[in-house]
Subunit: 279 residues, 2 copies
């Protein structure tokens, strides 16, 4: 299936249509917000939760997101052209628009899930820890640092993933300067200690993971309780399972951290069943 | 004068021409580099220096910048439509282009200097210190954090400036967690202690300021020597002058830090004469 593009107020346009002006603040300042969703059976999964996070991101950037009904309609338009039998990655984008004022630029893209991400579901990922340069408590009292905001300013996230791949890993896992694992550049960290399924508290400035939240809220279905904690990489190595969760990849087991192999996690399959991604 | 847009390989296009695709990685990931230059007498000032920095930024992002001769021609095309009598702000942009591969998106915009920046040259700016959450030594050993890279992922830079303005300041001045002043979101810090004109070392991860470098290299012309140091806000308050330098604003005196007024800097006018911006 080819990429689909829908533009607010215009509907579907060919994917190669030029859309943003040269001075769009999304392009020249990374000044915009986005969300990515998994499309299954022709509809975006957890749309309400993603839109709630997008509204929060826009608020944090003083950005005028269109009414939520318009965003839902935009998502629907994009999905209307997508086969119900194929999974997809839907992205909603809202930038601040042209530099000299004018309305935000609002659109959706819908594309196939990358084959690489799909293989991670079955085979897991080896990650490299990468220092993020901040402490676990630096970002919450400093809202201007945009902790927890999903802006389109992802150059550093992408650079971390490129660094990991260039050095023989599948992905990166960010560490705080005080030694805790935070999140990955495009996914949330989950791990199991005994009967508890854990994630990093958002007070550290990590993004509130939508897929991770879904899993944590249903931890009881697989015999686990849910919680939040700070965790070090060595504690992760001694845990009963470590995963990355994101809307497009779903739930992926971490098989090694900095080259140290993790024992196979017994709960991977049952956690993946909770989120129902094709494996 | 209205905004001008020139596109690599296409030449001048109307400024409101849609240019970037919906999936351009510049727009959806802030994955691109840029430079901004002062246009005077119809030509970009310090073009070679800005292009050298842009090449370095692109290298750091593993991004294929077109040959420098093409970038020079692009800048020339934009400036060809600009009146020699008017100053302007030229921006060169190179993004990673469409998500599924394809060439980088490369273009130039040229627009008037904002009236607000012009008033700062004569009247100075009051700044608020804002913690950046990193230490002075965090970024150099962690190249994936993109210290010193001028990417288009400026959402946080813009958020800091908005925070400053919303709280009654003109601009922000970033502080490291170990208490040193680093740079401003879109300009370089300069200050004078006795006969020395100083700036922050780039080993802290600050951007290597092109305009600041020009001034420092000519400090002797105004009876000063040039150096690099770490400085605290309280040391700045006791200095003989504090300035912000950037390509579009030129050299602007800081008149107050966090509400504490600084004595008038004796050297402001002679330093501004070095860079020859209209005041």
């Amino acid at each position: 299936m080819n990429r689909i593009v829908a533009v607010l107020g215009r509907g579907l346009v060919p994917a190669d249509t030029p859309l943003l002006r040269a001075d769009d603040l999304g392009a020249v300042r990374g000044d915009g917000v986005f969300e990515t969703m998994h499309v299954r059976a022709g509809a975006p999964w957890l749309l309400d939760e993603h839109l709630a996070r997008m509204i929060n991101s826009a608020d944090r950037l003083d950005l005028d997101l269109p009414p939520v009904t318009d965003m839902i309609e935009l998502a629907r338009q994009a999905c209307s052209a997508w086969p119900h039998t194929e999974e997809g990655a839907l992205r909603l984008v809202c930038t601040r628009g042209p530099e000299d004022g004018g309305p935000p630029t609002v659109y959706a893209t819908l594309a196939p899930v990358s084959p690489k991400l799909k293989t991670y579901r079955a085979g897991g990922v080896a990650v490299a820890t990468l220092p993020l340069g901040v402490t676990t408590h630096a970002r919450t009292p400093a809202p201007w640092l945009l902790g927890g905001v999903k802006s389109v300013s992802y150059a550093m996230n992408m650079a971390c993933q490129r660094w990991a791949v260039r050095n023989g890993y599948d992905d990166a896992l960010w560490l705080s300067t005080d030694g805790y694992a935070l999140e990955a550049p495009t996914s949330t960290l989950l791990w199991q200690v005994g009967g508890e399924l854990l994630t990093t508290p958002t007070s550290t400035g990590v993004l509130a993971g939508t897929t991770a939240r879904f899993v944590l809220d249903r931890a009881g279905d697989v015999g686990l309780t849910a919680g939040e904690k700070l965790v070090t990489p060595s504690e992760l190595l001694g845990s009963q399972g470590v995963w990355l969760a994101s809307s497009v990849r779903g739930l992926v087991e971490i098989t090694a951290i900095d080259g140290a192999a993790l024992p196979t996690a017994a709960k991977t399959r049952s956690l993946q069943d909770l989120v129902s991604y094709p494996v």
